[in-house]
């Protein structure tokens, strides 16, 4: 099986019914999709499969052999944030950050689909399967609407990922 993830094509050796989530995290060591509920209910494992948002925890890798996958890492980097990432930063739409990868991926797909400014009810529909237990959604919805209008402040001087933080990424852990 082969997957192109964030522009890099890889031969996949995980068993065919392995969830895409675990292929990404365990085999390819791409850690933005989180192993939250693993029942499709929390949204934080959401990635783009051929441009469409999908729950990576519910997708057996054999079902998407040959597909193109985009994760949060493929949308932007610390030195060049995507519009939705910048809007989340501008408007304090992330707190603990666990739901943020899925939120940003789903919001990016919504804005792409719409091709312009999105309304509040469209955001609520698109993020209806994404759970945040910290910020209460208001800032998240505001950030998505702002990003769709291009209402973004430049973000400068972000620390490099992991800078100044202890190395807490443990293989097999949900975060």
């Amino acid at each position: 099986m082969r997957l192109t993830v964030n522009g890099i094509e890889s031969e996949i050796s995980s068993p065919p019914l392995t969830a895409l989530l675990h292929v990404l995290r365990e085999e390819l060591e791409i850690l933005s999709p989180k192993a939250g509920c693993q029942q499709g209910g929390c949204g934080t494992c959401t990635v783009l499969v051929d441009g469409e948002p999908r729950r990576s925890c519910l997708t057996p890798v054999a079902m998407i052999d040959g597909a193109t996958i985009t994760t949060l890492e493929g949308l932007g980097q610390a030195e060049a944030l995507s519009p939705v990432q910048a809007a989340f930063h501008n408007r304090y739409a992330a707190q603990c950050g666990f739901c943020t990868p899925g939120m940003i991926v789903a919001a990016t797909a919504l804005i792409e689909r719409k091709g312009g400014a999105v309304e509040r009810d469209e955001v609520l529909e698109a993020l209806g399967g994404h759970y945040c237990r910290c910020t209460g959604y208001v800032k998240i919805v505001d950030a998505v609407m702002a990003a769709s209008r291009g209402d973004i402040e430049p973000v400068e001087d972000l620390p490099a990922p992991g800078e100044g933080e202890p190395d807490v990424l443990v293989k097999g852990s949900p975060a």
């Binding site: 068993p15 065919p16 019914l17 969830a19 693993q38 029942q39 499709g40 209910g41 949204g43 959401t46 469409e52 948002p53 999908r54 729950r55 925890c57 519910l58 997708t59 057996p60 054999a62 079902m63 789903a106 529909e125 698109a126 209806g128 399967g129």
Partner: protein, 254 residues
């Protein structure tokens, strides 16, 4: 040990590989099975993956709507119709894009809630299920398919005639996206009479024939015996079912 995976590239090949279904786990969209695997409740030995089987055609042939078993729930959620009203309520955008009508029909109940919301509108629409497997191909009303032994059957297509009369979609559920229904009632009045389908209250959807005859909402309990689960108690479901059937009858009979 890794599962053996079979990926047929046509409906005929899918039927052939399925055989009598013995020892085979059929993957349509995977949204139900993958969470079962993650929870350690399911370890498929042989998996039949239908995503390349060409069973995903949705077409309208005169007044007949034909839905391949692999048509995603998202495709049925578009527009406004009896089936769309229920499809729009299944989980969320991402799950609806992966989940299929065949999987929705065949997924059964469980402690977390009762699956198969689409059974109610399909019964009300008088839908027929074409399936193959043990004993060969057959087409039957959706309520008969659901009531029968489905273990050796592979769903190929669901078809119904566009309703010519009024219909009603009644559902009761919590607002958030992932709560299974407390109860669903669908009613449709066609040339050949009234049909009432109920789902979300037990492991499979049922046809409320007594109500169709009597037009008395309380008769729904003659055909339907709701279950207790994490979503609602059987007692609450009985009360709400009568209410939903009454609303449906009011809407359809005007």
């Amino acid at each position: 040990m890794a599962a053996e995976t079979l990926v047929p590239s046509s409906a005929d090949e899918a039927v052939q590989l399925f055989g009598d279904g013995e020892g085979i786990t059929v993957f349509a969209g995977g949204t139900i099975l993958m969470s079962e695997i993650a929870a350690g409740r399911l370890k498929p030995a042989r998996a039949l993956l239908l995503h390349r089987s060409g069973l995903d055609e949705l077409s309208t042939d005169g007044d007949v709507v034909r839905i391949g078993a692999m048509v995603p729930v998202a495709a049925l959620a578009e527009g406004d119709g009896l089936l769309a009203r229920f499809a729009q309520r299944v989980a969320d955008l991402e799950v609806r894009a992966a989940a299929t009508v065949g999987g929705n029909l065949c997924g059964s109940g469980g402690l977390g809630g009762q699956k198969g919301d689409l059974g109610a509108p399909l019964i009300a629409l008088g839908a027929r299920v074409r399936s193959d497997g043990k004993g060969g191909e057959r087409t039957e009303p959706v309520e008969d398919f659901l009531a029968g032994d489905r273990t050796g059957r592979l769903v190929l297509e669901i078809a119904y005639d566009k309703p010519s009369g009024p219909w009603s979609a009644q559902t009761m559920r919590r607002r958030h996206a992932h709560s299974y229904a407390i109860a669903n009632v669908a009613a449709c009045s066609n040339g050949d009479g009234l049909r009432v389908g109920v789902s979300g209250v037990g492991s499979v959807a049922l046809r409320a024939r007594a109500v169709e005859q009597s037009r008395n909402a309380e008769d729904v309990l003659k055909d339907v015996d709701p279950v207790d689960d994490a979503v609602a108690s059987a007692e609450y479901r009985r009360k709400m079912l009568i209410l939903l059937v009454r609303r449906a009858l009011d809407e359809v009979e005007g």
